[in-house]
Amino acid sequence: MTAESRSTAFQAVEKHGQDARATPKVRLRGVSKRFDTGVGKNARRFEAVKDVSFEVRDGEFLALVGPSGCGKTTILNLIAGFERPDEGEVFFEGRPVTGAGPDRLVIFQEHGLFPWLTVQRNVEFGLRVLGLDKHERRERAMHYLQMVHLTKFRRSYPFQLSGGMRQRTALARALAVEPQVLLMDEPFASLDPRTRDILHVELQSLWLQTHKTIVFVTHSVEEALRLSDRIVVLASQPGRVRHTLSVSLPHPRDFLDAALVEMRANILKEFEDELNILVKKEGDDDWRLEEGSISARPPRGVALGLGDGI
């Protein structure tokens, strides 16, 4: 990655320490995570994440981008406190993370709604855990359901909703407990581009309203560029930080932004070798992408003709 290959809109971000306004919300220091894979004589330790360090500032929208299997979910699970690192440490507001809690709320890829509860009762789940009384619960649930435009469906069950509606319910459920940090694991990956576009717009306006700290995992460069302040690009095998770049464009943004389109092309040029690694790992050995075949394609937003600010 040479300096010329980058567009002016993104620069390698300054070393941390220079930007010492406050303690970072989340900080990873030299974090490694290994998993045992295989059984019997095939058993071995697999290094999913190796020596990862980065931080997330208060109120920042940070995207974790990388090919499939590079350890994005693992990193998010470590921040959430679902898993412990084998080496290094994870800090939340300066204190080591010891377990999961509602201050770092996770939104899962498959929404994780409880199918036996109605939309409203799902949103109230976290509030019940907090011990709020019925009246307060209802009021808060309605407030956040309004925010995601789902009050009409408050009595429906998850199986009656579309994928996008489920994801919005999950968002409302998370926001209802008013967490300081939202950890989102490819929340829109299984949605159609149209619905995803709508949710991008909603999420941006939500973030502009509340200025929560968001860590957003995605394997889509477009999505990361559109939503985030800063992007941590991960490399795989083992999962590690490849580089960090900031996206200093005003919000809300659109896929069609000329600057975004240009940045995307540049990132993909640098990514191509990375994507080849993924292909080798998750497919046959002789499967290889043709040189330039990915970065040459137009951005998805353009190809689908997604409109402005829907």
Binding site: P115, V129, F159
Partner: protein, 243 residues
Amino acid sequence: MWLLVWETAFRLSGKEPWQFAPPSEVLSALWAGVADHTFLQALGRSLGRIGCGFGLALLLGTGMGFLLVHSRLCNWLAGPLVLGVQSLPSICWMPVAVLWFGLNERAILFVVLMGSVGSITMATRDGLRQIPVTYQRVASTFGASLTQRLLWVSLPAALPVFISGLKQGWSFAWRSLLAGELLYAVAGREGMGGLLTMARDLADYARMFAAMILIVCVSVLVDRVIFSRLEQHVRVRWGLAAR
């Protein structure tokens, strides 16, 4: 339709009515039994017994299932035992039951209990084991306590599998009950199984067949009206089946 086949089979077989009752006689026996209340009384007694025995099995089985999942020691100690007990036909417990409790209601309850507690334990265990990790993680990220997690997440998440097991437990309980009553019919307090034995002893085959029909009808009815409906409702709600 089946009645016609039955009637024809009877005529073709050339057997005497006391060997193989024709439907006409069976139906009239059924009617007579219902009319003089002996059938309904017996049915009432049987249902009372199964209600008690099955209720007890429900409490015990659910508790044991929880222990198997949440305590490794219990699983190691009792896991194979439950499996073994379940493979034993429950009527094998009858001699033991008579030895411990004497020939009375409690012996029959014990047999019903032993017949169904295994499936309920297994159902609870399997139901709890198949809960997706995501649900557990949702509970943790919202900071749910152990009891909250158990009551609000584990229990409902385990329900579909649990109900299927319940259905199986019910059919085992019903069989155990009949076997128990059949072997140890107590005069004056006989249930449906006792009714069968008495009819056989009196060589009243029409009445015997009538009792069998009633038994089948009741078990089908209970399955259809209670368990299958419950199962279907839960499966739809939980997003596991189409409406």
